[in-house]
C-alpha cells in the first residue's frame, strides 16, 4: 500500500461554508438553568457547537468552558457569554436555546430553523 507518500498528494478540497454572524436567543427557562449552572462566575462561556454524527448527520454540542482552541465568534445573549465556532456558524444562525423540564428526554433543547429534520431524541439534525 502506498500511503507513505500521501504528504505529496493534495488533500481533497473541503467544502468550507461561509461564516455567518450568528444571532441566537435563550428562552427564559434556559436562562434560569444556565444561571444555576454558571452561578456568579460569568467569566465562563457557553460553547454552542455542532459535531458530525447522530441519526441525522449533525449533533449539537453544548459545553460550559473557560476557553476553546476553536475559532469562535463571541456574543453576549441576556448576560451570558456564548461562543459559536465559525465552522458551524451557518448551521446555528437563528437558533433558540430552550430547556424542557421533564423526567424523560428533558434538558437543554435547540430549536433550529435551519434544520430540515431532527431525530427523535432532538440531539441530532440535518
Amino acid at each position: 500500500m502506498d500511503c507513505g507518500t500521501c504528504e505529496t498528494s493534495s488533500p481533497v478540497q473541503l467544502m468550507t461554508p461561509e461564516v455567518v454572524n450568528v444571532n441566537l436567543s435563550i428562552s427564559n427557562k434556559a436562562q434560569e438553568m444556565l444561571s444555576d449552572a454558571f452561578g456568579d462566575d460569568r467569566s465562563m462561556a457557553l460553547l454552542v457547537g455542532v459535531l458530525s454524527g447522530g441519526c441525522s448527520g449533525y449533533m449539537y454540542d453544548l459545553q460550559i468552558v473557560e476557553e476553546t482552541d476553536q475559532s469562535c465568534q463571541e456574543i453576549t445573549v441576556d448576560g451570558f457569554k456564548v461562543l459559536v465556532p465559525n465552522a458551524s456558524s451557518h448551521l446555528l444562525d437563528g437558533i433558540e436555546i430552550d430547556y424542557v423540564d421533564r423526567l424523560m428526554g428533558g434538558g437543554f433543547k435547540i430549536n433550529n430553523p435551519n434544520a430540515e429534520s431532527s431525530c427523535g431524541c432532538g440531539e441530532s439534525f440535518s
Binding site: P11, S52, G53, C55, P85
Partner: protein
C-alpha cells in the same frame, strides 16, 4: 490462492485526531475501539439507510487507510465533507498510487487484521478472503478470473460492490448485517435499520437461489445454475 483484480477499488487516507470518531459517527459499525494493525469494515448510509459505500478501514497508526470504491467515491465525499466542521480530519485520495486485488479461498486465522509484505498489504476481511493493496511499483500476479471469483461468491454468499452493494439497497438486504453494529451510538440511517431489526421487518434478503426459481430482475450476480439475488423471501 486465486488472486483477481479489483478494478473499482479506491483508497483514501484519513488523517487527524478526530478521523476515527468521525467515521464512527457516520457509519454502521463500531470503529472507536480500533487499534493499530486492525481493520474494520463499515457502511456509510444515507438518511434512508441506503448504502453510500461499503468501506474497509485499515488502522495504520498515524493515519487510517480507507479502501472504498471509485464508482461511489464522489458520493461518499459529498456525504462526508460537509460534515467536517471543527473536527481535525483531512482526506487524501491516493487511488492512483495503488493497485487492488482480491485473494480468495484463503485460510485466515486472524480475521480483522492486516499484514504488509514488500509494500503489499493483505487485509484479512474474512476467514477465506483478503483485500490486497499494493503500490503501483509492485507487480501483482493475477491467477483467477472475475467469473471464477463470482462463482465462488455465489457459492459462499459473498456480496460485492455494484452487484449487491448498491445505492438501491440497505446494508441488511445486501448481506452486510454483520457490519451493522447493534449497540453503537447514532449514525445516519440508524433509526431505520434499528426499526427493521427490532420489528423483524428488513424486507429483502440476500440469498443464493436456483436460476429457474427466481425472477431474472432479482438476480444480482448470475451464475450458471445458482445465482445471488436480493428477494423478499427465500424462494
Amino acid at each position: 490462492m486465486p488472486l483477481v483484480a479489483y478494478p473499482d477499488a479506491a483508497l483514501t487516507i484519513w488523517q487527524g485526531k478526530d478521523a476515527l470518531q468521525f467515521i464512527d459517527g457516520l457509519s454502521t459499525n463500531k470503529m472507536v475501539d480500533m487499534m493499530k494493525g486492525q481493520l474494520v469494515q463499515t457502511v456509510f448510509t444515507s438518511s434512508q439507510a441506503k448504502i453510500i459505500d461499503f468501506v474497509t478501514v485499515f488502522h495504520m497508526g498515524e493515519v487510517l487507510a480507507v479502501q472504498c470504491h471509485q464508482s461511489k467515491l464522489q458520493n461518499l465525499l459529498n456525504h462526508v465533507l460537509p460534515r467536517i466542521l471543527g473536527q481535525d480530519v483531512t482526506i487524501t485520495d491516493v487511488t492512483e498510487r495503488n493497485q487492488f486485488a482480491v485473494e480468495y479461498k484463503v485460510k485466515n486465522e486472524h480475521v480483522g487484521t492486516f499484514i504488509s509484505v514488500n509494500n503489499v498489504t493483505y487485509g484479512r476481511t474474512e476467514s477465506n478472503l483478503n483485500i490486497v493493496i499494493a503500490s503501483k511499483e509492485n507487480t501483482l500476479q493475477h491467477s483467477g478470473t472475475i467469473a471464477e471469483f463470482d462463482a465462488w461468491r455465489i457459492e459462499n454468499l459473498v456480496p460485492w460492490n455494484n452487484h449487491e452493494i448498491t445505492i438501491k439497497n440497505h446494508p441488511l438486504a445486501a448481506g452486510l448485517s454483520k457490519f451493522v453494529h447493534p449497540a453503537k451510538g447514532c449514525y445516519i440511517g440508524q433509526e431505520i435499520l434499528a426499526r427493521m431489526v427490532s420489528r423483524g421487518r428488513q424486507g429483502k434478503n440476500l440469498v443464493r437461489c436456483k436460476n429457474s426459481e427466481v425472477d431474472d430482475k432479482l438476480i444480482t450476480t448470475r451464475g450458471e445454475i445458482y445465482s445471488l439475488g436480493i428477494v423478499r423471501a427465500i424462494q
